[in-house]
Amino acid sequence: MLRNAVWVVVLGSFLLSLNVAAAANSDELAKKFLEAQRLTSAGEISEAITSYQSIIRTNPQLPEAYNNLAALYLKQKNTKQAKQILEKGLLAHKGYAALYESLTAINVAMARDAYSKALQIDLKPADISIASLGLTNKQPASTKRTSVISDIAKQKVKAAPSSETIKQKIVAINPTPLATKKVVNAAPIEKILQAWSSAWSAQAVDMYLSFYHNQYKPSNGLSYKGWIQSRRLRLKKPKWIKISLSEFDVKQQTNKQAIVNFKQLYQSNSFRDVSTKQMVLLYTKDGWRIFREKSL
């Protein structure tokens, strides 16, 4: 049953990227999005809100817009509205709504199981099934929502904690897929390096190497081939590796090249090291690739 759920999740993210990629063709949308972001960083919150609301009206299936709008509501300490808009965002996309519902059903079933152990009672295991979805659904989801979510929502007895007591932060998402040609500057170098560090942490050598430019020059004087060989050995040797990156500082960025400094914490079963790194990334037809890497 859980395996099914995983497949549904995979399918769901596929649907989303299709959807956004299609939307990204619209230059006008990209412009509107950038404008909303500009308003946000200029501190013109209510204008930014209006502009995201208008984006949502014309593109009701763009999750980034709901997310960023919710972040703005939170800035205004309006937790309730932030929550509503996030839920609306989930439900607006039929694929996501289905995922959300399936996930809820599974969590409820697991929670029932946990509660029955907590109180040593014999609860019948909940019946959960996940309906299979076709790929054709491009129209917005119907407004009629089903079972679990609405059940939980209806049963809600207590109001959400007031915004004074909880400080929440929603990280604004850059509209990555929009960043094809014109809006290179919005491309998240940081995100790419996080992905690079995840591959390293997972000791997935091939994936790790795929982040490097095919003309990458190792800083220690090794040949490219020698370097690849030594990386293969180094990544595989420890029992586990954990890389954490922080303090990103993009020194310079054009459409073609970016220079970024960051702090890297390397931990493995046998070694621990903190260093400051500088990387030069080049923009290729496959996206950003690491061209130079050195410790400062």
């Binding site: 929670a111 907590a118 109180l119 207590k158 959400a160 400080k167 932060k169 929603i170």
Partner: protein, 440 residues
């Protein structure tokens, strides 16, 4: 991605913002948490997490520390870490009911309100069908969670010197200190130098069903006072509900008997199979530990030696106060010894309280006997060693203040020699400690 940065303690206090209050629970402190832990930040969380890690290093089976870690992760929005922690915990301790309750809440936290432990809408829809017993069981679990968490938070803030334990003899090494109201057992150790230190780990315990000091047989209360472990009873001689075994203590002690208290069979014991822990107030007067904790403590507890001081509420004091109390009591015993050696019977007898008693004497007959004996002495020497000094909690002004001193006495005179362990009960009269009871 949603990152919640939550004012932790505000949130923890909300976690228990209580409709638990159906029963006789002391909840007052919880509402104050807010004031005592002003809305602060990641720092506080990481401090507390560090503390829990320290506990786990000292005692890897500190499953409470793991549960609390999960709560901290949960309440600071790190749901995946919380779930991972709980799943590991459940794997190790598959009968930890509280861990399951938390897990249920955690799983629903993305979809529904989980500010109060065990009050999700799902649980609310299940519980009514199950009847009062289960409803009560749920409340017990919530109380247990609250007490465990509160102990962690209070430990950070409280003073660290217990007025109840002022000295431990070198043969004693460890003492157990129980706070009934906090449902907590603390362990103190003696350093080579004679100073005391508190062990890093303290333990959740279950005490008597009813609050208050024990007075009569069957009153379902845990006695308060200074006791000593008398023996070890292995599990094959006991019903299953005692878990991995039991350490009886000497209730009723000399003072209890003198005061007409009745009852017997006050033990420290383990937990029935199929349960990790029991509700906070669930025994008939015994002190119940989890089997895992009792197993860890077993080697430290020595029948005949280990003191168990049981209080309603431990008096935590600062070092200066503790040292002062310690010096005053040790000096009182030393003055008694000096005056005894000095051969002046009057001075010696001035250390005894009017209501003094021993196994066969009151003050009058004791004095007469001592005066008679004194006439035959030309020389006497009294050496004391291995002193433990334990103090009853000071509950109210009109109640007597009592201290118990256990010591080794080496007596020599021109016509008599003896070596023995003694127990003295002292009481504070007009600012000086007088002997109330003397016996072996």
């Amino acid at each position: 991605m949603i990152v919640k940065r939550i004012s932790l303690f505000l949130c923890l206090s909300m976690f228990f913002s209580l409709s638990v209050a159906e029963k006789n629970i002391q909840l007052a402190k919880v509402s104050n948490l807010e004031n005592r832990y002003p809305a602060s930040s990641g720092n506080v969380i990481s401090n507390v997490l560090n503390k829990l890690e320290t506990r786990l290093r000292a005692y890897p089976k500190d499953h409470e520390a793991e549960l609390l870690k999960a709560i901290l992760f949960f309440k600071s929005g790190k749901l995946n870490l919380a779930l991972e922690e709980l799943d590991n915990l459940i794997k190790k301790v598959p009968d930890f009911q509280l861990a399951y309750l938390l897990k249920g809440d955690l799983l629903l936290s993305k979809f529904t309100d989980t500010n109060n432990l065990g009050q999700t809408t799902l649980l609310a829809s299940i519980i009514p069908k199950l009847g009062n017993k289960k409803r009560q069981q749920l409340n017990f679990l919530r109380e247990e969670a609250q007490l465990r968490l509160q102990a962690l938070l209070n430990n950070k803030k409280r003073k660290i010197w217990p007025r109840q334990i002022l000295a431990l003899g070198q043969s004693v090494k460890k003492a157990l200190l129980i706070d009934k109201r906090a449902n907590r057992l603390y362990v103190f150790s003696r350093k080579e130098s004679g100073e005391l230190f508190e062990e890093i780990n303290d333990y959740y315990i279950t005490t008597g069903k009813l609050v208050g000091d024990k007075a009569v047989k069957g009153d379902l209360r845990t006695p308060e006072g200074v006791y000593f472990v008398t023996s070890w009873i292995s599990p094959n001689k006991l019903p299953a509900k005692y878990g991995i075994g039991a350490f009886p203590v000497n209730y009723p002690n000399e003072l209890d008997k003198h005061n007409g208290k009745t009852g017997y069979g006050i033990w420290l014991h383990g937990t029935d199979k199929g349960y990790y822990s029991r509700p906070p107030r669930d025994s008939e007067g015994c002190v119940v530990l989890t089997n895992i904790d009792l197993e860890a403590l077993k080697g430290e507890i020595k029948p005949g030696l280990t003191p168990v001081v049981i209080t309603d509420k431990v008096e935590w004091v600062d070092y200066a106060t503790w040292q002062k109390e310690r010096k005053t009591l040790l000096q009182a015993v030393e003055d008694w010894r000096l005056d005894w050696e000095s051969m002046s019977v009057n001075k010696y007898l001035s250390h005894y309280e009017k209501e003094f008693w021993s196994s066969s004497h009151n003050l009058k007959s004791w004095s007469a006997r001592k005066r008679l004996l004194a006439k035959s002495k030309t020389y006497q020497s009294v050496k004391l060693s291995d002193l433990s000094v334990l103090v009853y909690p000071k509950e109210n002004e009109d109640k007597k203040q009592i201290a118990v001193v256990r010591l080794h006495q080496n007596y020599k005179s021109n016509n008599f020699k003896s070596k023995m362990y003694k127990r003295l009960y002292l009481t504070k009269k007009d600012n000086s400690w007088k002997i109330l009871y003397e016996g072996r």
